[in-house]
Subunit: 324 residues, 4 copies
């Protein structure tokens, strides 16, 4: 069924480019614990020679030849560097790109499959290049797409996504505004005015929709909580929303639909799960519900979904080695 | 002009009931630093005899006789206990009630003046009983009221207030969900579905308005950030909003309208200021702006505004002793 | 070799009393992931009926009959309640007591084996009742015992243990001093004057030794760092200390001796490992070294070591199901 | 009495070089609130033109001419840059150097007075150049010096100072190890092996003493707690230590000797106070006491003491404008 090479070998030979950022480290540990693969390298220019935390594996300088010979490459590079590496390695390894370089709206999405694991399994299975989704879009798309498909959302009234993320979402390059003393005890909005890049990524997938996406920076290391005010059709309520999610995500162990109430951040930190909850809203004229999605930006929002995508690409169980 | 007693004395004799909660402590320190008053007592049943942190002042048991003889009483009691004390002390002292007991929507608001200091100065000056506003409503009302007055808000489309508060807003009574290990690294919504008590307080002041108020609990000790998606009339933009605020709040030193951009929490923590900012929102069909209000829930959201109200009641400068 | 019942069954039937404190929750999750056991119950009086977080397992009321029929009981109760349960269940199940009730110095240590997993394997294997060590003593004993055995420590000069722990070490019962707003941004010593209970536990194991143990409360959820100023014999240095540790702990995968430098807290949080490091100290007349031990109070300091003890009791690999 | 210029002017004209680091900002705000001075400039190369937070004052580029014309210069520059500025401005302004450049042990201490405000008032009053003490040494010296003077300390046994500081002590230049995600939930020792620069500063003041100084990095923004194991002479106890402190510091309002117990960090954060406490230690052969000192590294540990030094230099009350 799967036409790509390497499935006969005992273990998949995986390389990680950019293994020492927050996403790279999380992925290196997650992939190291996966029983179907072997990490052949994890690179870091600045930390070449240093231990990765995985026994027996040190960071190495990126090497083009070595990259070409891997079965599968994960790209955890700074946004912008991944596209060049895709060119460079040619038709050799399959690739999962965790940067924004090949996502919808990037201008380079052609030839890449957008890897929302629970929705694009068939296309991911055949993909040579998977664009691993952004952390914020993962939560919003998995929450809203089945509801939009079912026609219960009023696309003409404004959907307001207020999101808040831990600081690892901003990467590990030193910046004054990410110093502990700046973030501790603080909270702020950013990307204000509907200008955050991730909105475009959502819109490409969700289609025509009045959408305001407002992210905030939380004084926590990891995790995303998205509080969504969702305009719905007459008679649509929380119960109906939960039914639609459950239908859409039967057998998706990384997705938990709460039987009542809404999730909190702590329940998902350190996991690869997405928790979804919804409540009815009282005292408003036109019907809305409040949807809350919680995920770990480094888990389901990055490395966890990347491993799901790898599993799908190689015909394995989607949740193999995933922290559900 | 002011018909109440005691203005001839050299210093106003002030009593604080409930001085050892987070609000009570903040108020005790702030009032102690005010050069127009003398604290005659600060009570705490559980900590009677313990130091207040103010040199020379220890907490005492609440005493009805003593309470009656103060010029001014601040009530920082648990919600529900304040009403009984107002009955008890009769026509003696003037009162600033920091609980919810006499706020709009409480059922006991008659006879009380709702003390939004920058908007109700004249009525506060004459009040015997001031209901000090809730922390969340203070930010929302001061942000929205001048805009509603000016008719630039579309009252029929949904105004979405996403708010986040530090944990001191929940008080100092031990609760499992407020333990450090539960809050640290966590973030969650509460009062979901538009049911939080503070919404009613806002609505009584703002009038008919489609309003969804969604609070969250932040892993910080103090401070509130309110991100408001505000539907506005055609042609209304951020510049116009700022003009309206500036007109409304000329000479209000505790209120800062940012010349551009939006405020962050850290700028107001430990102060009695409210910072207001607004930006235009792109890529939406019907016009909205994003308004952000930042204040310290214990400062402008409680003790700071209480001191402003005291100043107004005694004909002093509204910002006397206030951390602007 | 092992004379106790139940080893022929396919899976060990394990019960957890007190499954909803911080230790109980950690243990419930860790044991649920262990492939040699089956959890037959995890109790919580206050949360009976609520989900444990482990799929298919809800908290139940403690039941004496049920407790007697388990193969192995873990006691994660408040200190003081465990002794009564040990009486109650009689000669039925083997027991691992995570409370202080049967530790050295408790007065009830007779009949219990003190379960320092890496040092008492043979005795633990035969034990009916294991007293799982305290979190602070685990680090101090594993760091110092091999050095004392080798005679390189000067027992007459003062050994100073400055330790700092995250708040989960203090349990989950609501207390005002453990509220988020009290701990956030704070740091303090407690048990000052050498009076902390854990010192006695250390002394019983380490023998005659001049020892000052000074704990502190850290504004983190979990983890312990112990900085030990250790007086050593002439000519003893960091290199020699590392050699002694490596000899003592060959094959102990949960113990990592750093090849140089000292460990930090973040390296062990969420794991069952203990990290040990040591450096030489300059500019002092009598030789001392600085030893640093890092562990997670809920991991190697509680649940992790409990699982190691279970493994030893049933003849399994000591690190089976342990997060090394 | 005071032979320096400018005391006749109505307000002292003060300049701040390096006003946008953590120390510079704290000092700018503190000095702006002082009623005896006027800030003529606060410099920041990277933020020239940006607001300082003090109404009406923006950061400017450092200007040699302007610096020479100030009455008093505060140097909050990176360590190493201050010495060059002292050369540059010649005999013009008096100077308070908050860097390490002229502190004891720097090699440039000649001509500078080491500004421990409570101990060197007479010399500071006459100084042209004051070396403002380091944050850690301030606590240790104020705690120990009166005890050493009184001869109650055993200088031959090891005094162990375990100190922990918030991250603002490390400055505001972006560094990977100071990012929020690295510090949050973490705790670590540094300067291990008795090599931290501040030890030398302490030793120059305290004289011959067996001293081990071990700093740690706390996950808080500000504040220092120093837990000192102090060997004392026979019969010396906590009560005696407190008496000696009280004698030494009569009238020193920025120093609080606790009547019993030990201070915690939160009591001093945001203030210019130093809190001292001491307890007796049981179960040790040779007598020791545990001393705890708490101060804000940006307050008494930097800007607060700098303002005290300014007050002393100009014959003002030592605590004028100081947050006691």
């Amino acid at each position: 069924m799967n036409t790509h090479k390497n499935t006969s070998r005992s273990r998949l030979r995986v390389g990680i480019l950019g293994g020492n950022g927050y996403t790279g480290r999380e992925l290196t540990h997650l992939v190291a614990a996966h029983d179907g693969v072997e990490i052949v390298f994890s690179t870091s220019r600045s930390s070449a020679g240093a231990p990765t935390g995985v026994p027996g594996l040190v960071f190495t300088e990126p090497d083009e030849e070595e990259a070409r010979e891997a079965d599968l490459l994960f790209l955890c590079l700074p946004h912008g560097d991944a596209a060049a590496w895709v060119e460079r390695v040619g038709r050799g390894p399959r690739i999962i790109d965790l940067t924004a370089d090949h996502r919808p709206g990037s201008g380079r999405e052609e030839g890449a499959v957008y890897g929302i694991a629970e929705r694009e399994g068939a296309r991911i299975a055949e993909a040579r290049l998977v664009a691993n989704p952004g952390c914020y879009p993962t939560g919003v798309i998995l929450a809203l797409a089945p509801l939009l498909d079912a026609g219960v959302v009023d696309r003409n009234r404004l959907t307001v996504v207020n999101a808040a993320s831990g600081v690892t979402g901003a990467g590990r390059t030193p910046r004054a505004d990410l110093l502990f003393a700046e973030v501790h005890g603080n909270f702020k909005a950013y990307g204000e005015g509907n200008v955050h890049r991730h909105r475009k990524e959502m819109m490409h997938t969700l289609g025509e929709l009045e959408l305001l996406f407002q992210p905030h920076l939380l004084p926590v290391a990891r995790g995303i909580l998205e509080t969504i005010v969702l305009p719905v059709g007459t008679g649509v309520n929380a119960t109906r929303i939960r039914e639609l999610w459950e239908q859409a995500y039967t057998g998706c162990h990384a997705l938990r639909v709460l039987p009542e109430g809404i999730p909190e951040l702590a329940s998902v930190v350190g996991t690869d799960r997405l928790h979804l909850g919804v409540v009815d809203v009282q005292d408003v004229a036109d019907p809305v519900v409040t949807v809350v999605a919680a995920l770990d930006n480094l888990g389901k929002g990055a490395a966890g979904q990347a491993v799901q995508n790898m599993n799908l690409m190689y015909g394995w169980d989607r949740e193999r080695g995933v922290r559900c």
